[in-house]
């Protein structure tokens, strides 16, 4: 910023311009990890979040397995398979929530 030598009152002009441009969506800013403290960061909040994620993935797994069984007449097979997959998906959800954050983009 050699042009700014004479204008000490405006050293932040470039910064302000950049901020204004990013705010108006002209320059796309590097998107930061969207994990702002949802549900509170207390121990109870985290516990509740993890529990809900595990349970909901399990519900979806059981639901899919049950409907596939009814449809294909393979009574317990699909339920057993999808309960396991649902549990896996629950763990994957929790990992995505709690695991090391990689920069989103």
């Amino acid at each position: 910023m050699t042009e700014n030598k004479g204008h000490d009152s405006l050293p932040s002009f470039e910064d302000r311009l950049r901020a204004a441009r990013t705010k108006q969506g002209m320059d796309t800013p590097p998107t930061q990890a969207a994990s702002a403290g949802m549900g509170g960061n207390s121990a109870m909040g985290i516990g509740l979040r993890v529990g809900v994620e595990l349970v909901s993935a399990m519900i979806v797994g059981v639901g899919i397995g049950w409907f596939l069984d009814r449809w294909l007449h393979t009574s317990p097979l699909m339920l057993i398979l999808f309960v396991l997959l649902g549990g896996g998906a629950g763990v994957a959800n929790v990992w995505r929530l709690m695991g090391p954050k990689k920069p989103l983009g």
Binding site: G25, E53, A57, I64, A92
Partner: protein, 250 residues
């Protein structure tokens, strides 16, 4: 409320027809009535708040402006500049949930967010929108979302079902979180309120002892106000995060 020595904690969530025989004939419940009231309240807040059009806003105008800019910055922060397109949706969603939670705390009213049918309906709307947005922006490339790049091909039969279930569990967890929080709060209110009535029935000692649950309910009301805001915020911000995933895909 509480009958003789029984606590009917779930009776408050029962639907009953509103607006007399006309409402009964079309199954118009008090839940629908509260939805209409909160919708009208949101419109009134924005209309009455922005009517003065003052440079220096009054209290109501400041509230309306904070509501608008708060959700607007949430959209642009979480989704990126494409988020402006989803702003009306997020705004409606946030305030519908927030006013449902808040109006539910008023005596003799009804919390429509305490019904899983309502919250799951909202969550379903969110997930359908997210999927449609992702398909429109990325086309069939969207399905690469279910198989992370760099994973060994051998694991595909395991990873793809797990990712699909994980994706489908989003609306379920979104709806259960809101519904469970609301039900839990209102059940606690009911239980402690029943304790007050039961203790007061014992006699003088009971009346003094009833101050305990009464104080608890007062504290709980403050906590529930926090939960009402927090859950509406979580619902909106998770929708934003899902939309971010849909727009940017990974």
């Amino acid at each position: 409320m509480a009958a003789e020595h029984t606590i009917d904690a779930l009776g408050q969530f029962r639907l009953s027809p509103a607006l007399g025989p006309l409402g009964a004939s079309v199954n118009f419940s008090q839940s629908n009535l509260m939805m209409l009231i909160s919708g009208a309240a949101i419109l009134w807040l924005l209309w009455a708040g922005m009517r003065p059009r003052a440079i220096v806003p009054g209290r109501l105008q400041a509230l309306a402006e904070i509501a608008y800019t708060g959700i607007h910055s949430m959209c642009t922060d979480q989704i990126g500049h494409e988020g402006k397109r989803f702003f009306p949706f997020i705004f409606t969603l946030f305030f519908f949930v927030l006013f449902g939670n808040l109006f539910g705390l008023l005596p003799f009213s009804f919390t429509y967010t305490s019904h899983i049918a309502v919250t799951f309906g909202l969550a379903l709307m969110v997930i359908v929108l997210v999927t449609v947005v992702a398909l429109r922006i990325h086309g069939l490339h969207f399905f690469s979302y279910f198989f992370p790049a760099g994973a060994p091909k051998l694991l595909a039969p395991l990873i793809i079902p797990v990712e699909i279930i994980s994706y489908l569990s989003r609306p379920v967890s979104l709806s259960i979180r809101l519904f469970a929080n609301m039900v839990a709060g209102h059940v606690m209110f009911e239980v402690f309120a029943s304790f007050i009535v039961m203790l007061a029935g014992i006699g003088t000692i009971g009346v003094i002892a009833a101050i305990g649950p009464l104080a608890l309910n007062v504290a709980l009301m403050g906590f529930e106000l926090l939960v009402a805001f927090l859950q509406a915020y979580v619902f909106a911000i998770l929708t934003c995060i899902y939309l971010h995933d849909a727009v940017h895909l990974h």
